[in-house]
């Protein structure tokens, strides 16, 4: 039994007004994020036996405005997801008759981990920098941007680099690492942010050394 079952029990038997988000109840939809005993977790993945003998405190995810009970306003997060343009950008789309854009297993491995994000926002709740500065692009959005930057089919570096490499992009990150600790899908956004920083630094260096030919 999980915390989500407890919430459902409360709503069904004790307080019908209790309001919270949930859907798949198996850790793939990302809807049921909450602060469980001070730690951002999916309520469907928080087993009650871990809290045996204690009273569990369930609070709305921190760093987001609360709409009601455990339901938080995720507009800022949604805005950031769209901002990094989470789709394949091509210089020129090839017609369907030419077939698929082919990709090897090795090419898939370069970004596969970062495509596992279920948009649960636990990482934003765990990030102290986001808590102090709402303008920070944040873990999930950067990891998603990196997923597309590393996708061999994508040609949108020119579009995405300026977004992730602005001051409130990756540079605000101080490598706390809590985002990767709380991520339920092993995306490791901290790693994505670090790799994006390295890309940014080498890109900046290239554009200094080769202003016409190098990075953009």
């Amino acid at each position: 039994m999980v915390v989500l079952d407890a919430l459902n029990y409360i709503k069904a038997n004790l307080d019908g007004t209790l309001t919270y988000r949930w859907s798949c109840r198996m850790g793939v939809c990302g809807s049921c994020g909450a602060n469980v005993d001070g730690v951002p977790k999916l309520t469907c993945a928080s087993f009650l036996h871990e809290f045996k003998g204690r009273t569990i405190n369930v609070e709305p995810l921190p760093h987001f405005p609360v709409i009601k009970d455990l339901v938080i306003n995720m507009d800022d997060f949604m805005h950031k997801l769209v901002e990094i343009k989470p789709w394949i950008i091509r210089d020129k789309e090839s017609p369907p008759e030419e077939g698929e854009y082919r990709q090897s297993a090795e090419e898939l491995e370069r970004y596969g981990q970062f495509s596992s994000c279920i948009n649960c926002m636990l990482c934003y709740s765990a990030c102290p920098v986001y808590g102090l500065n709402e303008k920070f692009l944040g873990p999930a959005a950067t990891a998603l941007a990196y997923r597309y930057i590393e996708d061999s089919r994508d040609q949108g570096k020119d579009v995405r680099f300026p977004i992730v490499h602005e001051i409130e992009g990756v540079w605000e990150c101080t490598l706390v690492g809590e985002c990767s600790v709380v991520c339920p899908k092993g995306v490791d956004p901290m790693l994505a942010i670090q790799k994006t920083k390295i890309l940014g630094a080498t890109n900046a260096l290239k554009s200094l050394v080769m202003p016409r030919g190098g990075g953009k």
């Binding site: 490598l175 790693l191 670090q194 790799k195 390295i198």
Partner: protein, 103 residues
């Protein structure tokens, strides 16, 4: 947070040592050596060394995570990078002592 506080010790030690270099440059070598023998400074240096080694370990582990090396079919793991770089650190430290002190 501890990892970030390593930066404080690294910066302050550098500043103390820059001051010591100024004493060497102006010929006041003895004042410099007296300063370094001050028990408070020695205690600070021990802490600085511990924090710097902590910084080094976390740094090596992170580098191992961010830049794994592919050898054929296997990819390196962060703890391997940590171990390898610690060995490298010991070799470099020994080389510094051999070349710059004992010769």
């Amino acid at each position: 947070m501890i990892r970030e506080w390593t930066s404080f010790f690294v910066a302050v030690f550098s500043l103390i040592y820059i001051y010591e270099l100024s004493l060497f440059a102006s010929g006041a070598k003895d004042s410099a050596l007296t300063l370094m023998r001050n028990p408070g400074i020695i205690a600070f240096n021990v802490l600085a060394l511990l924090f710097t080694l902590y910084h080094a370990s976390t740094w090596f582990y992170l580098i191992g995570k961010v830049q794994p090396i592919k050898l054929g079919k296997t990819t390196s793991k962060p703890w391997q990078a940590l171990l390898l770089n610690i060995v490298l650190l010991l070799i470099i430290s020994y080389a510094v002592i051999q070349i710059l002190i004992l010769r």
